[in-house]
């Protein structure tokens, strides 16, 4: 089945493992992802904070490109939650608000482009894999069940909220990721924090705000004894993975909660080599967790590599009476 594909900026940079793993399972799921030609940034949560009309015109260009390629498919797949929401939101408001549509039409016309609202169906990668490809197809490809791996299914916000097109059964307690992970053989834990915020861009704005939101999530997953968290969003992955040490430092905690993309777990269950799924590029080392399902990863993540320091290297001050330093 062919789908139009909007990777988004993160997928080519910080979330490269997500793109690699999605590409690695494409064939087995009988998906063909046709990338939009010369797509631009979706604006994330930043453009609409500065210029409202321009933020939607920015997205409008991507929708117009999608429409021009609709001979391939009418469904546009976005794997990033923010990209997904921006694309679907612009399409939604273009259908709902005629004055708004006139303004976006005007802006797009300046670039000799146009978009017919509703002509493209925007879907998130998880939604397409669960609802279009289906669990039967997934189960049929599982050769290495993730038996014994305890996972916390983490959705984040923007896939299930505001859900303008009504694809999800719950804004706060969806179950499709759990069902998918169970189909892979994993043991899915209860995770009440599953649609709570990862703090989004707050790591760049107010560390105190961001680290508390990150702490809640890793605390929740640890409390329910998850081996790792599973995500479907580049922003969530970056915050939980790359900022976990900062959050630990801030709260003087020592949580170790790895986080992988759901596409990476699908790939592992399909028997694909961890390296080809981009596993080994994390900050928080997932190897102890993956050892439970006999997955070996050659490369040690750089951030958790221990610096080699000679035991007898530097003379350290010693307290009298301790470690034989006095009497």
């Amino acid at each position: 089945m062919k789908y139009l594909f909007y990777p988004g900026c993160s997928m080519e940079k910080s979330a490269i493992p997500y793109l690699m793993s999605l590409k690695a399972i494409e064939d087995k799921l009988s998906m063909e992802l046709v990338e939009l030609e010369d797509w631009n940034c979706c604006g994330a949560t930043e453009y609409s904070a500065v210029n409202r009309i321009a933020s939607h015109a920015l997205v409008g260009r991507n929708l117009a490109i999608a429409e021009s390629m609709s001979a391939e498919s009418h469904t546009l797949v976005a794997p990033c939650s923010a990209c997904y929401l921006n694309l679907s939101k612009t399409d939604h408001y273009l259908q709902e608000d005629r004055i708004f549509k006139a303004r976006i039409d005007d802006a797009l016309a300046a670039g000799d482009m146009s978009y017919t609202p509703g002509s493209i169906e925007v879907r998130h990668a998880l939604d397409v894999i669960y609802n279009e490809i289906g669990l039967e197809k997934i189960k049929a490809n599982v050769v290495k069940p993730l038996k014994g791996l305890r996972v916390a299914a983490y959705y984040g916000c923007m896939i299930v909220r505001p859900d303008l097109h009504g694809y999800y059964d719950s804004h706060e307690y969806p179950m499709i990721l759990e069902e998918l992970l169970e189909a892979l053989g994993a043991e899915v834990i209860d995770f009440p924090m599953k649609t709570h915020c990862c703090s989004g861009h707050m790591t760049q704005i107010s560390g105190e705000t961001a680290y508390e939101l990150i702490r809640r999530l890793i605390y929740g997953a640890t409390r329910y004894e998850a081996d790792l968290m599973v995500t479907l969003c580049p922003m969530c992955q970056l915050n939980i993975d790359a900022y976990q040490s900062e959050a630990n430092r801030y709260f003087k905690t020592d949580y170790v909660m790895p986080i992988l993309y759901f596409t990476q777990l699908i790939g592992l269950a399909f028997g694909i080599d961890a390296k080809d799924l981009g596993i080994g590029q994390e900050f928080v080392d997932p190897r102890p967790a993956l050892a439970k399902i006999d997955v070996e990863v050659d490369e040690a993540p750089a951030a958790t590599k221990k610096r080699r320091v000679k035991e007898e290297g530097l003379p350290m001050p010693q307290m009298p009476g301790k470690n034989g330093g006095g009497d």
Binding site: A15, N40, R61, Y93, G111, D163, C197, L213, F283, A302
Partner: protein, 200 residues
């Protein structure tokens, strides 16, 4: 803080832009779709649901009451919309279906456009981000993170550098931006959109 619009005469810097509208109507007009802002019943579900509410100057409910009271300068200088994490929990929980998150975006754009508002870290982050999008058509994580960290987080530059180095060694960040092919087309679209925005 002074209120710059005289409530009786509506005289003040806003009078031209408001075009006889109340502040609420003005925000509604600038929000795509039906924002339902006027439907707020001040129940406080939004503030109670907000993950970053504890760090906000005002809860969304308070901010909407301030809009109703035409306290524009206070609204535009509130950190509330800038501490909105865009999680949409308030939006889906609001019994009146007020599009709270969307309204927060609108208030941010109004604050950016108003010379009386103070600069803040969040606003600079957004403006730096979109500067790269305007120039390249793509976001540029390395440029954004390094520039933002140097100007706003001088005390944690070391932490940011460690993070950046980690991303680089994990092959998760590029030092150079990616540029789209048809940047002139995008620039024309964005330029026209910004002209239209100024007319609102």
């Amino acid at each position: 803080m002074t209120v710059l619009v005289d409530r009786q005469t509506k005289k003040g810097p806003w009078v031209d832009q408001l075009k006889g509208r109340t502040l609420i109507e003005w925000v509604e007009d600038r929000t795509p779709g039906d924002s339902r802002l006027e439907m707020c019943i001040q129940c406080g579900t939004c503030g109670g649901s907000c993950p970053s509410g504890q760090d906000m100057d005002h809860t969304p409910r308070q901010l909407f009451a301030m809009l109703r009271a035409e306290l524009e300068e206070e609204v535009l200088n509130s950190n509330t919309p800038w501490f909105c994490v865009s999680c949409y929990l308030c939006t889906v929980r609001c019994p009146q279906e007020v599009k709270i998150t969307d309204i927060m975006y609108t208030i941010k754009t109004l604050a950016v456009a108003d010379p009386r508002t103070h600069a803040n870290t969040a606003r600079d982050f957004s403006e730096t981000f979109i500067g790269y999008v305007d120039r390249f058509g793509r976001s540029f994580e390395f440029g954004l993170a390094s520039r933002h960290a140097l100007s706003h987080m001088p005390n944690s530059v070391q932490g940011v550098m460690e993070l950046g180095l980690g991303l680089l060694t994990q092959r998760r960040m590029d030092l150079t931006p990616t540029k789209i092919k048809n940047l002139p087309q995008l620039s024309k679209i964005l330029h026209r959109a910004k002209e239209l925005e100024a007319e609102l």
